[in-house]
Amino acid sequence: MSSATPKSAFWSGFRNGLPFILGATPFGLLFGILATEAGFDILKVMSMTIVVIAGAAQFTALTQMQDNAPVVMVLAASLAVNMRMAMYSASLGPHLAGAPYWQRAVAAYILVDNTYAVGITEFEARPERPVKQKMAFYIGCAVPSWFFWYLSTFIGAWFGSSIPPEYGLDFAPAIVFLSLVAPMLKTLAHVAAALTSIALALALSFLPFSSGLLIAAFVAMFVGAEIEKRVTGQIL
């Protein structure tokens, strides 16, 4: 693809990003509905979705808030969920390093699990491409789910207030979290980290201000990393 232009790279990325509309839309709808039911007005729902643009962290914040956790604890848990993005950022960094600063800021804003996965696969398959094309491809792959994330959140928030509480939506966040986590349980280390997190979070649930969860997460992270170090590459 030596004759490729940034424009064709953008559209190639765009096509690669289309399937993720399917993933973003239900989450956006659900976030809009649940945030509205929790008492957010549409301005707050949309502000959060636009400013944060990270589903798992938004659901985490919402769950912690329904527990009336202190503001600091709401932020700590939600930001902890997003810490993985530092790893994505470090991994994409060398590929996009030559791009203008504002483009890298846009690339950072739209950095989520999907865009990272599509982007890094492309960059590693064709590392020789100029940075302009890499950036165009990467932004292209984000555009479809980016747009649908906003749109579906808005629709969810719009209709959220008309959904009666007896529809069992109280359990939706739990299903969301489990559905996000289950596919990640690929190695013994991931499973061990998850089990540590569950055991400690339950055992420490008596601690005030939701601090048990943070302790559990901290220990679980080290358990996962330590096991990975000892049994490198072992797949379940």
Binding site: M65, V81, N82, M83, M85, A86, Y109, A193, M221
Partner: protein, 109 residues
Amino acid sequence: MNYSNTEIWIIIAALGIGTFLIRFSFLGAFGTIELPPWAMRLLRYTPVAVLPGLVAPLVLWPQATGGQPDIARITAALVALALGMYFKNVLAAMFGAAITLYLLMFLLS
């Protein structure tokens, strides 16, 4: 939920700024910075370290039942876990669990 308007806006703004800074950390750095392997290893486990601990009390002690364990919710959780691990697919897990939950809530009511 018991937060003032100001607190909610603080949460939205701080979460947005914090998340952006995490994302921009290395993309925005001048030159190329390599993260040491041990740091990459730790970061790899943040989602599986946080989310299971967050979800466990929601599954075992749901607020909607006043904290009583509930067979429909626990089964739906197990279905989400099983489908997600087997198919490695978020949507399959989500819809499978939702269908299970509604089916059981209907059958057990």
